[in-house]
Every structure is written in C-alpha cells, then in structure tokens.
C-alpha cells in the first residue's frame, strides 16, 4: 500500500514537473530573442575565435559545441524564479500541491531540452562547413545530454538566492559562468594550459562535458571518459540537491 501510494505520488509529481516544463517553454524559451541568442551567440564566438588566427576549424568545433551548450542550457534557468517572484506568480506555484523538487525538476528539464536542441546548430555548422568528423556519435550525444542536464541544474541553483530583481541573479550567473569558461579547456586544451588552470579545471562541470565532446570528435582529452561521465552525473545530483535545499529555505523570501 505504501509502495503504491509512493508510486502514485511520484507519478503525480512527475506530471507536475511536466506541467512546469510546458509553462517554461511557452513563457521563456520560445521567445524569439532567446532563440536568436541561442543560435547566434555560439556562431559569433566561433567566428571571433577563428578569424585571423592560424587554427584549424576542426580544432575549434568541439569547443564551440561545448560553449553553446554551456550558454544555452544555463541561460534561462537562473532567471525563471526571479522573474516569477517579480511577477508574483511564484507564490501561486508554491501554494499548489507541487513539491519544490518537482518545480525545480521542471525548470531543469526545460533547460536540458533547450540546450540539447540548440546544440544541434553548432554540430551542424561544424559538420557542414568544416572538415570536422564525429568519431563517436554516442559519446557526443552523451556529452551533450549530460552536459545540458548539468548546466541546466547549475542554472537552477544560481536562481536560488532570494532576489526578486532578475538583474541581481544575472550578475551572479555571469560571475560564475564566465570564469569557468576559461578554465574548462574550451578555447585551449587543458593539457596546454598553465598549472593553476589545470588545478581549477576539475571543479568545473564544463571541463567534463568538454572532454566528452572533444573525445567524440577524436581529440585527445585531459580526463578519462569514464571519470567525465561519472563527474557529470555527480555534479548534476549535487547541484540539484543543493538547489532543493536552498529554494526550500529561501522560498518565502523576496516574495
């Protein structure tokens, strides 16, 4: 009976998470500026890094895919809760029979889907416009999906401080995301980076996603694939757990 009750409760909460996902996609992700930002941003970064430099395009593509994933999957997540606090719709969500876990799971799933779908753009650009060859499609898919899951969860974690002004969270989000970009082997492979960066790399989930994507494109990687897979799952679980604790603790603040 208890098992059945628990299963029913999980089933219901999963449906609630899907309802939140649907709401987020409609409200935040399917906006033309968000879509355009998601597509154009990695392309311009690619051009900025490639043009005028003696680097083979094939060497840039894995970094471009990882970077696009990083920026798209974690772009909107940090802002959903502050936007909802600001619009006073958050109070309605937490007064409904939905657990904080389900609300956050819905937020994570929307970031995961958005990041995964938009990462197809740099993958296609790489495949169609350069001589890049994908040597392991399953590894590329795993890297993209686990990376997107991880970055979306990080986005939700960044949304937890009790700020009703989205600009405050945007600042925090950029303070965390931008430095990590430079110690994760996106632009320069980790083995070629200075010692301090190699020490910092293991604390960045982006490093592990980059390893999987680089390996999928046939490049050498700093960490073993198994470790990267494990660390991405580990980081996602830790981020989600900490997010649930913080969101629950601060849910009534800044209402």
């Amino acid at each position: 009976m208890t098992v059945q009750t628990n299963a029913a409760s999980w089933h219901r909460q999963f449906h609630c998470a899907l309802a939140i996902l649907k709401k987020n996609i409609r409200l935040y992700y399917l906006k033309p500026p968000v879509l355009i930002f998601g597509i154009l941003f990695p392309v311009f970064f690619f051009l900025a890094f490639k043009m005028g430099r003696p680097i083979a395009a094939e060497d840039v593509v894995p970094g471009m895919v990882a970077m696009a994933l990083w920026f798209t999957a974690s772009a909107v997540g940090p802002l959903v809760t502050p936007w909802e606090r600001n619009a006073r719709t958050y109070e309605r969500l937490i007064a409904s029979p939905v657990s904080i876990h389900s609300i956050l799971a819905g937020d994570v799933m929307s970031g995961l889907i958005f990041g995964t779908c938009l990462s197809v753009v740099p993958v296609l650009i790489g495949s169609l416009l350069t001589d890049t060859v994908i040597e392991s499609l399953p590894l590329l898919i795993a890297g993209i999906i686990l990376g997107a899951l991880n970055f979306a969860t990080l986005g939700v974690l960044l949304a937890s401080p009790p700020a009703s002004a989205p600009s405050n969270i945007m600042l925090l989000s950029n303070l965390v995301r931008l430095p990590l970009l430079f110690v994760s082997g996106i632009f320069v492979p980790l083995e070629q980076m200075p010692a301090w960066a190699r020490w910092a790399a293991p604390v960045s989930p982006l490093s592990y996603a980059t390893v999987l994507i680089r390996t999928a494109y046939g490049h050498e990687a700093f960490f073993p694939v198994w470790l990267s897979l494990f660390m991405l799952v580990f980081f996602a679980m830790v981020f989600f757990w900490v997010s649930c604790v913080f969101h629950n603790m601060w849910r009534a603040r800044a209402l």
């Binding site: 609630c16 939140i20 619009a87 109070e91 937490i94 409904s96 029979p97 849910r251």
Partner: protein, 314 residues
C-alpha cells in the same frame, strides 16, 4: 462537526518581530469565514502559512485532516488561493493559465476542460479564452484567477481581498459566484478590508490585530458584544436644540452633532429614543426623523483594533 481548518497556536517570527502570535481558530466545512485586520496585523502571514507559502515558526494547522507541517502537499491538495493581486501568467492565454493550475492539481484532462468551459461561461470570459492574460483588465484578470482556482475543484478557497479595486459589476459577480459555490458546500476563507462585504458574506469573522486574534464570532454576536456602540440618530427640522441638554438625557453617554442631525450613543436605544421624543415635545422642537442603529461591523472592527492599540501603547 470536524473543522475544515484547525489552527493551533500558529506563530511566525521575522527576526525579533512576531508577525503572528499563537493564533488559534477553527473554520467549519461550508462556512464563509472572514479574516479581518488592519494592515500589518498578520492577515497575509497567517494565510501564507495556511497555504504553504511560508513555514510557521511554531504551532501548526490541520487542513481537511492533513497537518500543514507534516503533510504539506496533501493539505495543499484541498485548497485553492485567489490572491489580492491577480498574478496570472501574462504571456499565457486565459485557457493556458487555467489548464496550468488544473494540471498542477492533477485534475484529469477531460474533467479539467469540461469544468474550465463551464467556469469561463459562468464568469463571463468565455470569449476571451484564446487571449493572452496581458490583454485583460484588472477585473477580468481577477475573474481568471477565480476560474483557475475553481477548476481545481477545491474544498476550501482562500480569497484575499477578492473585490478590491474591481468595478461594481465584476465585484458583484465575484460575490455572487462565491455565494453560489458556498451554497454547494465550498468553504471560503475571506480576507478583506471591506466590512460591508464581510458582514454580508461571512457566517463568522475573526479580527486579528498585532498578530493576535482580538475577537472571533458571528457578526451579530460581535455587534451585540459592543452594545455600548448602539446609537439613536435624530434629525430636527427647525430650531436646533441645545446640545448640552441632549447629552443630559438619561442613558446617553456620548453625543456627536452633524448639521441638523445628532448621534446619541447608548446601550438602551429604545428608552433613549422615547425620551428624546418626549423631551422634544416638551421643548417645542420638531423632529424630522429618528432611528435606532445597531453597531456596524465596521464599528466592531474599530472597537477591537483601537482597544488593542490603546492597550498596547499603555
């Protein structure tokens, strides 16, 4: 009868400030319960605790048999909330707003679509179904909020200032819908500043002041409890009598003049009215009108909130 809401010593502190201090009351099934109090008295904090938005610092409440601290999701499954500010999702359509709330409450698809159509018709916004909530006026957004709350088939509805700032038609419609639903057994927890609304709609009211319940009873009993605020209103048509003489009439302990009208406060209004007529006849004053009034709910409210404030400042 088992209460729909049982509140036990509910307390909430914010730092050193006790916003709600050991509040306790019951709300019975099918009752319209009014929750009144001045700004900052603890109304919103109490409602937020009951609806799961914030945790109590101490005490608890039981909603339809489920403790809000031990089983928050189960307790919230029985309630719906219509906040004062119509916080609908502006970029979702009317229909999407309603469906979202229904989905979050686990209402099956067929049931939620049928019920939503029915409610949209009843609330007069069926023709706005595909419009974004952004396009609606405040009154229509409030109707949408009510619709989104009722589609979840709640047993208890929390209404926070439901008619505040609405046009006459929308306010009347809201009151009518709530009254009809209450006839069908819905328990209503109404937070309001509108004393007429509370007096007309509520079976019982609680007055909260400085975080504590100052009074709780039926509006009639509360009015009776402050019988000293009964009054006789008398208007004179020609020569005005001497105010000091009016005040000497037996049983009058306060008098307020206003143009040709005098308000005499007493706890024996019948005797005072008879005495005023006799006295006017003797003195040759012509009475244009005389009436006896019981204290209004507003008088009751002011009595309890002012008494407490005066007590607190001493």
């Amino acid at each position: 009868m088992k209460p729909a809401i049982e509140v036990h010593q509910l307390t909430r502190t914010f730092g050193r400030i006790k916003a709600v201090d050991r509040v306790a009351f019951d709300v019975y099934p099918g009752e319209v319960f009014g929750f009144l109090g001045p700004n900052g008295a603890g109304k919103t904090t109490t409602v937020r605790m009951l609806t799961g938005v914030i945790d109590p610092s101490d005490g608890t409440a039981v909603i339809q048999g489920h403790d809000i601290r031990r089983a928050p999701l189960r307790s919230r499954a029985h309630i719906a909330v219509v906040p004062e500010e119509a916080n609908v999702y502006l970029d979702l359509t009317v229909w999407q707003n309603i469906m979202l709330m229904a989905e979050l409450h686990g209402i099956p698809r067929r049931q939620r679509t049928g019920k939503a159509d029915q409610l949209l018709d009843a609330l007069g916004i069926a023709d706005r179904k595909k419009q974004k909530a952004r396009m609606l006026s405040k009154g229509l957004r409030q109707r949408l909020m009510l619709c989104a709350a009722l589609v979840t088939d709640p047993e208890i509805i929390f209404l926070d200032e439901p008619t505040s700032g609405l046009d006459v038609e929308s306010a009347r419609l809201m009151r009518q819908i709530v009254a009809d639903l209450n006839k069908d057994g819905l328990t209503v927890f109404l937070t309001t500043h509108n004393m007429t609304e509370a007096g007309d709609m509520c079976a019982r009211v609680a007055i909260i002041n400085s975080g504590r319940i100052a009074a709780i009873d039926t509006p009639e009993n509360l009015r009776a409890a402050i019988s000293s605020r009964q009054y006789v209103e008398v208007a004179f048509s020609m020569d005005l009598p001497d105010q000091d003489q009016l005040e000497t009439i037996t049983g009058v302990f306060e008098m307020k003049p206003a143009l040709r009208r005098f308000t005499l406060y007493t706890d024996t209004p019948g005797q005072v009215a008879a005495e005023v007529v006799r006295w006017a006849d003797q003195k040759g004053h012509q009475i244009a009108g005389i009436s006896i009034h019981k204290p209004s709910l507003e008088d009751v409210y002011l009595h309890f909130t002012r008494t407490r404030r005066a007590g607190g400042s001493q």
